[in-house]
């Protein structure tokens, strides 16, 4: 799952063959499909990688595929390629979240650069998502009281105020505070705040 893979969908067999050879030559794993549906059927969201997608193909066009992937919440970065001068399609593709848009004949530097960027993006997304999951698990481990204390601590309230607010003794507040710091594996208020930020982005 973590070994990055490049998915390539184009209806022209020569283009598929040539491009995959090129991408292989930089040591990346390529899987080709002559039809988007075949890709959709084979795709596993846990797989780290990116998708190179021809925008105009008989029967189904690349933007529709992007729409399907977006609807399913798939985060795989898409690099569109086209043999037509599809300027309007280009802007639509980017608006819908495309990673890049390249015209044929494809410049190798542009292609490989896009691929790298896309894969990096995907890796950090997966990392972040598992990170987020880890943090969320830790937070779920807290008791109700600990969570209440935490939310007031990150706001910057001192223990005295917290104890007044929650109607418990300062000693109890200190106990909760120590416990939640330990459970969340943070050593300082700054770390706690950062952790909070990670899971609840602005």
């Amino acid at each position: 799952m973590l070994e990055p893979k490049v998915f390539l969908v184009d209806d022209d067999s020569a283009v598929r063959d040539a491009l995959s050879m090129l991408i292989n030559s930089v040591g990346l794993n390529v899987i080709t499909f002559n039809h988007p549906q075949k890709f959709l059927d084979a795709y596993n969201p846990k797989q780290v990688g990116c998708l190179i997608l021809d925008i105009r193909m008989p029967g189904i066009n690349g933007l529709s595929v992007q729409e399907i992937l977006n609807r399913n919440g798939n985060q795989i970065p898409i690099i569109f390629i086209t043999g037509h001068g599809d300027v309007s399609l280009c802007s639509n593709a980017f608006k819908a979240g495309a990673s890049d848009f390249l015209t044929k004949p494809i410049d190798e530097h542009q292609l490989l650069g896009s691929i790298q960027k896309a894969i990096q993006q995907n890796i950090s997304y997966h990392q972040k998502s598992s990170e987020t999951q880890e943090i969320q698990n830790k937070i779920d481990n807290l008791t109700q009281r600990e969570r209440e204390v935490m939310s007031l601590v990150v706001e910057g309230f001192p223990n005295k105020i917290i104890s007044k607010n929650l109607g418990i003794s300062t000693r109890t507040v200190e106990t909760h505070r120590a416990s939640l710091f330990e459970k969340l594996e943070v050593n300082s208020l700054a770390e706690l705040v950062k952790l909070q930020f990670t899971i609840t982005p602005l």
Binding site: L19, S25, P58, H84, K104, P105
Partner: protein, 608 residues
């Protein structure tokens, strides 16, 4: 909706509602009345039984008294009047329905005057044996000579009004003769026929003969009994039942002597008619009857009661309840019927709404589809009808091999720089790259041919090749529209003398028309079948599509200038094609077949 409901309740249904209520009420009332009738029947039976027993009791009492008197006289043959009187008074006190107790001694003719004297002295007034003439004069007169008489000598109580009867020969009186004779001969009590009493009312006499035993002359001869006197009690039948015994005013009671027919008023002992007012519906109701014979040896009576039902069978509170209950039930039924009708209607209207909705959405869908098709058609036509679009198509076509060539080469460069050089892979890449270059050059060639401005030189050309060239040119479009192309090109000969470009124009036009014809065909049916045939001196080329076919009215106009079925076409394609073909000595035609249309043209084979 409220208003609508109201209308529903109040229109033609009001009569049906009324009818339903009437039916239910009628049924309920019938049930109620039937049970009431049964109740009344039971009451009637009980009452009748009670009264019967009462009368039976009286009858028995009568028998007791008469046998008591019989026993008294047999025990004390020479009882004095005063003693008899005191006994009688006791009896009379006990039994109010016994009117009088009388004595009728037997008087032989020979002893009459003597007898009369003795009795006159006893009673202190002139006493004669007499008869009463009922018919005619209605008066007393002395009895004529008869063998014997049974005159009344004693009466207790001595009723003033009845004093004239003293001396009446009861035996001779037509009313009493039969009973007297019976008791004299049988020695048992006998009842007279009923008659009207002097003081109103109905009554009858019970006679019992008292015998004196004559001592037998000799031991062997039987004892001859001889009647000494007849004792009688007069029964006032009206006193059988007191007012307290008779609270039932709707009961009619009939006690009569069995020797008479029930309808014969002469036999009536008690005849009490019901005092309740008859009702108009009495005829519909059952009449209760009770009939039983009185058990008595001396008094052969028949007891009957009758009851005609009247208003009492209708119990007002129950009836009101029944009417209200049936009204409620009717209301419920009406509501249920209405609910079901409304439900049915709302289902109907819901179904209708659904149907209308379905229709609407169907129309919308069809419209949408048509619009999209139209757009696609427009787009398609716009793309194909201009040279610019054709060029764009060609440009894209060129781009594919170019992309491949570039990537192959760049891959090779990288692969060469690896530590471990994969020679086979590089070789493969370079071969593919070269092939793609050839592909590209072919396309260029077609393009050149297509846009050639070098006039129209005649060439000897292969028709088959032209077909292939044109197919490459529209490769992209064919693929986009998912049209499968099948070719059957006669390899024996396809040489013609014509201008290449022009022929390509014709072939292209026909191919484009075929594609246009199949734009609505299902993808799996989209097939273009191209056939060339060399036959004698002529080569024919046909394009068979699986499209919508040519409408009958258009077939004749197909090749006319400016005739087009496309919204965005000039209508010159086929006209120009025809001009070109005919210029080279050929013929072009079109026809329909079962699954689409076939366009074909012929050209003379080139003579080398």
């Amino acid at each position: 909706m409220q208003k609508l409901k109201g209308v529903r309740y109040l229109d033609l249904n009001i009569w049906i509602i009324l009818a339903i209520w009437l039916v239910i009420a009628a049924v309920a009332l019938v049930v109620q009345i039937s049970s009431e009738i049964n109740q009344q029947r039971d009451n009637f039976e009980k009452q009748s039984q009670t009264i019967f027993q009462l009368i039976q009791q009286r009858i028995d009492q009568n028998e007791t008294v008469i046998s008591g008197l019989d026993a008294l006289f047999n025990t004390f043959p020479n009882l004095k009047f005063d003693d008899i009187r005191s006994y009688a008074r006791e009896m009379l006190a006990l039994y109010p329905h016994i009117y009088t107790i009388e004595l009728q001694p037997r008087v032989e003719l020979s002893k009459v005057s003597n007898f009369e004297n003795i009795i006159s002295a006893k009673l202190n007034f002139p006493y004669t044996i007499k008869d009463f003439e009922f018919g005619g004069a209605r008066h007393w007169h002395p009895a004529p000579a008869r063998p014997f008489y049974y005159p009344i000598t004693f009466m207790e109580p001595p009723i003033e009004k009845a004093s004239p009867v003293f001396g009446l020969d009861v035996y001779a009186d037509s009313k009493f003769h039969e009973a007297m004779a019976k008791t004299i001969s049988t020695g048992k009590a006998a009842t007279s026929l009923p008659f009207d009493l002097v003081e109103n009312g109905r009554g009858y006499l019970i006679f019992e003969a008292i015998f004196s035993a004559t001592k037998p002359v000799s031991k062997n001869k039987p004892i001859i009994k001889q009647v000494k006197q007849v004792v009688s009690i007069l029964i006032d039948a009206d006193k059988f039942l007191s007012k307290e015994d008779m609270p039932y005013k709707n009961l009619s009671i009939h006690l009569y002597n069995r020797e008479f027919n029930r309808n014969n008023a002469n036999g009536n002992i008690i005849r009490v008619e019901s005092s309740s007012t008859p009702t108009f519906f009495a005829g519909l109701l059952p009449v209760f009857t009770f009939s039983r014979p009185i058990k008595s040896k001396s008094q052969p009576f028949e007891f009957e009661t009758q009851r005609k039902l009247g208003w009492e069978i209708i119990h007002i509170p129950s009836t009101i309840f029944v009417l209200l209950a049936s009204l409620t039930i009717t209301a419920l039924i009406v509501i249920i019927i209405n609910q079901r009708r409304i439900a049915r209607e709302s289902v109907n209207s819901a179904a209708n709404l659904l149907l209308i909705e379905k229709e609407r959405s169907l129309i919308r869908e069809t419209f949408e589809k048509q619009r999209r098709q139209h757009e696609a058609e427009l787009a398609h036509v716009a793309r194909l009808s201009t040279m610019g679009e054709m060029a764009s198509g060609i440009a894209h076509e060129l781009n594919q091999p170019l992309t491949a060539i570039l990537s192959y080469n760049q891959a090779c460069i990288r692969m060469f720089q690896e530590d471990q050089v994969d020679k086979d892979k590089i070789l493969q890449a370079m071969k593919s790259s070269a092939a793609q270059s050839k592909r590209a050059s072919q396309i260029i060639q077609q393009l050149r041919n297509f846009v050639s401005k070098k006039g129209n030189p005649l060439q000897t050309i292969e028709l088959n090749q032209i077909v292939l060239d044109v197919l490459i040119l529209v490769e992209n479009e064919l693929r986009e529209q998912q049209i499968k192309v099948k070719t059957d090109l006669d390899k024996s000969n396809s040489l013609v003398t014509a201008n290449r470009v022009q022929l390509e124009q014709v072939v292209l036009n026909l191919v484009l028309n075929a594609m246009e014809a199949m734009k609505d065909t299902l993808a799996e049916h989209k097939q273009l079948f191209i056939v060339t045939r060399a036959d004698n001196n002529v080569i024919s080329l046909s394009f068979q599509d699986h499209g919508q076919g040519i409408p009958a009215e258009n077939i004749d106009q197909l090749f006319n200038p400016f005739f087009t079925t496309k919204s965005n076409g000039m209508g010159l394609g086929l006209t120009i094609s025809q001009t070109i073909i005919e210029a080279y000595g050929g013929r072009i035609s079109a026809k329909n077949y079962s699954d689409g249309s076939i366009f074909m043209f012929t050209l003379p084979i080139a003579t080398v």
